[in-house]
Symmetry: C2
Subunit: 178 residues, 2 copies
DNA sequence: TTCCTCCTTGGCATCGAGTGCCAAGTTAGC
DNA sequence: GCTAACTTGGCACTCGATGCCAAGGAGGAA
C-alpha cells in the first residue's frame, strides 16, 4: 500500500500500472490481486466494508435524536479509523481520477444499502413506497459529505477533520433550508 | 444499440461481451469502439452530454422560483428526450450491474459540474466556501432522483414518468422536512 | 528428525475492454 | 473517370483481472 500510494501521488492513479506497483513492492502480480481485488482497493482499503460499523454507531444513537445528527455521529466512526492525512490523500486522488471517483461512489452505495433500513425504521416511510425515504436521506447525507470533501480538498484540507465536519454541516444546512 | 440492449436484457450486462454485441450487430469490433467509447455508452447513449441542455432549461426558469422546483423542471427536459420504456430499461439494467451503476453516477457528476455554478448564483454561498452549496444542492436532487428511480423500477415502472416525478417529489419532501 | 498437511506464493495462460496504426474500400466533389 | 476525404476493418498491443497448478515454507504429530 505504501509503495502504491507513493507512486499514485507522484505519477497519478491511471498512469501507474499494477506492474509498477508490484515491482516497487517486491511481490508478484498474482499475489497482489489476492490481497487487493482491484487496483482501486489499494486506495480505499477496508473502507467499503465499514458499512456495518457505521450502522452499529447509528443504532447506538437515541431514537428521538434528529436523523441528521444521528447520521452525522454515525459517520463519525470513520474519522476514528482514518487519519486526516489519509483522508486528505484519498480526497486528492479521488478528485483527479474518474476510476477512483466511480469506486468511491460505489462504496457509498454499499453503505447506503446497509444504512437505509435503519434510517427508515426511525423516520417512517411517510406514505411513500418502502425504501424510498431511507435511501433518499442517506444518499443526501453522503452527497453533502462529498460536496464538503471536495471543498475541503480545494482549500488544502486545512483545519483537519473538524473543518470537514463543519463543511458537511454547512452543506446539510443549505440543503435543508435553501 | 438495439442488438446490444436485447442481449443485455436477456443475458445481463457484464455477461455480454463486446464481441457478442458486434457479432449480433454485424459490424467489426473496431468500428464499435469508434461509435461507443465504452461498453457502458451503449446503454446511456448521449445522456451524459445532456448537461448543457439541462442548464439551459434551468436558466429559463424565473430567478425567484424556489431552487428545488426550478431544478425539478430543468431535469424535466430529460423526459422529453426519452421514452418511459427506455427509462425503465435503463433503470432495470443499472440496478443489476455495478459497472453500469458506476457509469451512471459518473454521468451525474458531469451534470453536477455543469449545473452547480448556476444553482449557486441563484441561492448564494451562504458564507460557505465557493462551490459547496451549489454542489450539495444539485447532488441532493440527483440523490433523490436516484432513490425515486430505484423505487420506481421496484414497482415495475408503473405509472410512467409522471409517477417517477411524483416519487422524486416525495423523496425531496422527506429530505427537506424529515 | 521425519513426515504429512495447510497455507502462501508465483508463474503461466487466458479473457475482456480499450487504443494506435495502417491498409482497403466507399463516398463525394469536380 | 479521377482525386480527395471519410469510413471500415484487421492486427497487434496494453492493461486489469481470473483460473489453474506447481513449488515452497510453517507448524504439528509421530
Amino acid at each position: 500500500m505504501d509503495a502504491a500510494l507513493a507512486l499514485f501521488l507522484e505519477h497519478g492513479f491511471e498512469e501507474t500500472t499494477v506492474d509498477q506497483v508490484v515491482a516497487a513492492a517486491g511481490i508478484s502480480r498474482r499475489s497482489f490481486f489476492r490481497y487487493f481485488g482491484t487496483k482501486e482497493d489499494i486506495v480505499f482499503g477496508d473502507l467499503a466494508e465499514q458499512g456495518p460499523a457505521i450502522l452499529e454507531a447509528l443504532r447506538e444513537r437515541p431514537d428521538d435524536e434528529p436523523i441528521w445528527e444521528a447520521l452525522g455521529h454515525a459517520f463519525g466512526v470513520l474519522t476514528t479509523r482514518m487519519s486526516p492525512e489519509r483522508g486528505a490523500m484519498i480526497g486528492r486522488l479521488v478528485t483527479t481520477s474518474p476510476a477512483l471517483r466511480a469506486a468511491h461512489l460505489e462504496k457509498h452505495l454499499r453503505w447506503q444499502e446497509v444504512l437505509a433500513p435503519e434510517v427508515e425504521r426511525r423516520v417512517g416511510t411517510g406514505g411513500a413506497p418502502a425504501g424510498l425515504v431511507g435511501e433518499a436521506i442517506v444518499a443526501t447525507v453522503l452527497a453533502c459529505l462529498d460536496a464538503a470533501s471536495a471543498a475541503w480538498v480545494r482549500q488544502g484540507a486545512d483545519g483537519g477533520l473538524d473543518e470537514l465536519r463543519r463543511l458537511t454541516y454547512a452543506a446539510l444546512t443549505a440543503v435543508r433550508s435553501g
